[in-house]
Amino acid sequence: LAKTTQPISMDSYEGQEVNITCSHNNIATNDYITWYQQFPSQGPRFIIQGYKTKVTNEVASLFIPADRKSSTLSLPRVSLSDTAVYYCLVGDVLQDDKIIFGKGTRLHILP
């Protein structure tokens, strides 16, 4: 399982676009990049997953450069309800028996 590094915390304002970057220098060929979101007193929730280039869904976008050693989760026009902890995970979704969560990035959205 590739180790990931992401900022411990970030602040932003309502209406802004927020980008959270995750480093994963030892990502393997078969590894996917997955982001989860966790609100207080709840379990994490899947946001988005990608392998390369760009992935977009109704919640976020995920940008992955060609070398795949980092990835950026982009949240468009955040609101107060986007205040949460965001986890970046890297692993082989078809082979890995377990997924290891790091400490995540605590995103605080200000009015």
């Binding site: 997955t34 379990g43 994490p44 986890y87 997924i99 969560f101 400490k103």
Partner: protein
């Protein structure tokens, strides 16, 4: 939301007491996991299961045991609870690609 329930949702117990937490799923997913979450540590994997009677240790398995006698249930047991096991415990299920988490159990060991 995925069909995952955890019981109990809250429990207060005393040091040295055995405690069993239950995770129940209705999704028939192969993989089930137990995590604990503490301030400053994020989520840490305790044990996981990749099938009935097939389990393995995670990164913080000391003091915990698990059992999975049927697909839908994954039990986490603290044989003799200690104050260091006060935490929020999350169960998760997956079928390879994405994990779905339960609502959590808040355990306090006095």
């Amino acid at each position: 939301d995925a069909g995952i329930t955890q019981s109990p949702r809250h429990k207060v117990t005393e040091t040295g007491t055995p405690v069993t937490l239950r995770c129940h799923q209705t999704e028939n997913h192969r993989y089930m996991y137990w995590y604990r979450q503490d301030p400053g540590h994020g989520l840490r994997l305790i044990h996981y299961s990749y099938g009935v009677k097939d389990t393995d240790k995670g990164e913080v398995s000391d003091g915990y045991s698990v059992s999975r006698s049927k697909t839908e249930d994954f039990l986490l047991t603290l044989e003799s609870a200690t104050s260091s096991q006060t935490s929020v415990y999350f169960c998760a299920i997956s079928e390879y690609d994405t994990q779905y988490f339960g609502p959590g159990t808040r355990l306090t060991v006095l």
